[in-house]
Subunit: 320 residues, 2 copies
Amino acid sequence: MARLSDIGEKGIVRSLVSMLTVSARLGPGDDAAAVELGDRYLVASTDMLWEGTHFHPRMSRWQRGWMAAAVNLSDIAAMGAQPLGLLLAMGLPADLDEGDVKGMVQGAADCCDAYGTDYLGGDTKECPQLVLAGASLGLVGKEGLLTRKGASRGDLLMMTGTAGMAAAGLLALELGIDENRAITALFEPQPRVKEGALLSASGVVTSCTDISDGLSTSLQELALASGTAFEVDRPSVPIGPDVERIALKAGKDPIDLALHGGGDYQLLFTIRPDGLDRVLDALGSDARVIGQCIGGNRNVLRSGGVRSELEPKGYEHFRR
Amino acid sequence: MARLSDIGEKGIVRSLVSMLTVSARLGPGDDAAAVELGDRYLVASTDMLWEGTHFHPRMSRWQRGWMAAAVNLSDIAAMGAQPLGLLLAMGLPADLDEGDVKGMVQGAADCCDAYGTDYLGGDTKECPQLVLAGASLGLVGKEGLLTRKGASRGDLLMMTGTAGMAAAGLLALELGIDENRAITALFEPQPRVKEGALLSASGVVTSCTDISDGLSTSLQELALASGTAFEVDRPSVPIGPDVERIALKAGKDPIDLALHGGGDYQLLFTIRPDGLDRVLDALGSDARVIGQCIGGNRNVLRSGGVRSELEPKGYEHFRR
């Protein structure tokens, strides 16, 4: 059998999803699962972070807890659901002190509080590395569930906020550049919970995911789930001035940070072509059209008259 | 501040519980949290297992997945709830192969199936150690929620099944004794999901927990949560013939395995003194009275006319 380092995270996830059958409305394979509960869906997701990959040494304990909560709440947001609560299992090295642990739990609890939900509880276990495994719960009306599957040719492709900010923060850290706003964006992700609920209520969204693994990778996930492909208009991809400046200092092209950098936790979604006014009414200038659904099976980046294949180059676990 | 190795798992959990306020019906500090959902409670819990502490090298991949699911479903059972689904976040070493991962997920999915619920999904992340963090969800009618708090003087103390089987399995492994039934009990815990629901429906249960950390430690948790104490009648503690035989071979007293060994996942509960017939009607000989609630703040072990303090000596993380 193939090693994980050969097939990568996306490969093993696809393999696992294909072996499981569930009676839930939506089982493994989306940002979260959905279980029928009367006239609503209970939405549930889990995301694990650990010291080596996810926590930069410069992150405070509070930021580690915040991040663990935020990335889990982002999955609820991507389903259009209102968060109902967060669980947090912590694997903790025995030489941590009580204050470290309290700091992390406070960060997670503060993040829950900021997004109108509860830190419901957790588990503490001894573990040589710091591992924080969150699980988030949410509720959404049956008509309002947003999934990765549903985009079709002609739909508009949109996203919230800007892309590349977290990647720029990581670059700033690597280069020792003093860029606090980007570094904070990397360390304290802001899940788009309110925006997810507004998109759900708009009634015009045909597919949705968060861009935690990078825009190009998340686009690929939407494309595979919906059985279609997208064209992204390069000049329309929203890139903030911090990203432009940091990329310039680093000698990088800002579009590469925006397309392939992870950690942004914006929402990437498609809407019916006649639904643009509704989305702009709900989200204002925070939402932008960045392309469209073109059918086929290859995502394309268009820059003026030039079209090139847009390959997923975001972060993937296991892949070497 | 104190190190985790000084204050132990119970200390840090109490410290964390005291800093958190939640609007949920029941937040951190019980087997699971409970959130109001119309006329029911959504019950949710998380439990993390990792290679070093929880998985014996002789466990198969399938058994590791089964165990991760089972210990999480046990928390739902202890609240009297019907399971609604399981999430499983996996931290995986990159040199595992696809078959290893599939084996674990199959074990978790088979456990869910055996207890009438769904494997809803999960997360895969690269991690130097194998870490499995489950989160379980359940539903229970508002009147049926079982918590650790509620035992009062005069209540009968009861448990399901027998005690010490998992500890005997561990002992057999350590001594290289061929005792497959006990070893299987250790590797493949059977959460008392049906029994939890029956106890919930009986209407006479005043407090409940599982005995995953050992009978004496779980008794202490019930006592602290309820603000009371218990007397355990030593001859009434149910000990199976496998435990007697393995203890004999190892030169140990079987009552020590039964009182202080972890990993049994039976339910420990108290009932109103007039409720015994109802419980025996529902659970039959699977449930036994092992003592009573005596008030005060010290748990006692009674053996004939001799009474001695029953201290919690179950497994505790971090404690050295």
